[in-house]
């Protein structure tokens, strides 16, 4: 399988600060990446995606950066809120079908 890993298993930030969650991937042929948020007792929720022909994509309060040279992906959350507390996963497309490889996840805790 693919090696989709995260640099930090846990992250704590003050409410209102910006959060950055990092992810490393190993398959240079992967061309589609997704960030998911998972709250306790729920399934992963789509946040934002990016294809390999882009290096940056912005959503509402979130930005994903893709550095194909070093095979690195990051998720930036602006003005982090208590509701952002969750586990965040990056997912990398596989070689067949709509299969994705998920990292271990980063647990984000927002301190009020």
């Amino acid at each position: 399988g693919e090696n989709v890993g995260l640099h930090l298993p846990t992250l704590s930030v003050q409410e209102g600060d910006n959060s950055i969650i990092n992810c490393a991937y190993s398959n240079s042929a992967s061309d589609y990446f997704i960030w998911y948020k998972q709250e306790s007792g729920k399934g992963p929720q789509f946040i934002i995606d990016i294809r390999s022909n882009m290096d940056k994509r912005q959503g509402q309060r979130v930005t994903v950066l893709l550095n194909k040279t070093v095979k690195h992906l990051s998720l930036q959350i602006a003005a982090t809120q208590p509701g952002d507390s969750a586990v965040y996963f990056c997912a990398e497309s596989g070689n067949t079908g709509n299969q994705f490889y998920f990292g271990t996840g980063t647990s984000l805790t927002v301190i009020p």
């Binding site: 399934g43 789509f46 996963f89 596989g94 709509n98 299969q99």
Partner: protein
């Protein structure tokens, strides 16, 4: 519109038993995928079905099988349950067969005793 629905939400089985998990995709989605999520880890791909055909299989033993019905709903079957099969089983749907975001259900929490 309803999201991806899974049943049951929780299940307790004993070793050696068989289990069937069910999933209904979002209306209009033809692809259904199954993932296993062990506590503290990311989801791991088990199967993908599209238009009732298997389009991908992860590194799981033959005790795991699945199928997709004409209405695009799906079942995941696991035979001869082992303690290590205890996990959250997630179903996800998408419109297309390749490289499109997955929409996940809340999962079935399976405990094998």
């Amino acid at each position: 519109d309803a999201g991806v629905t899974q049943s049951p939400t929780h299940l307790i089985k004993t070793r050696g038993q068989h289990v069937t998990l069910r999933c209904s995709p979002i209306s209009g989605h033809k692809s259904v995928s199954w993932y296993q999520q062990v506590l503290g880890q990311g989801p791991q791909f088990i199967f993908q079905y599209y238009e009732k055909e298997e389009r991908g299989r992860g590194n799981f033993p033959d005790r795991f099988s699945a199928r997709q019905f004409p209405n695009y709903s799906s079942e995941l079957n696991v035979n001869a349950l082992l303690l290590g099969d205890s996990a959250l089983y997630l179903c996800a749907s998408s419109r297309q067969v390749v490289e499109e975001k997955l929409f996940f259900g809340s999962g079935t929490q399976l405990s094998v005793l």
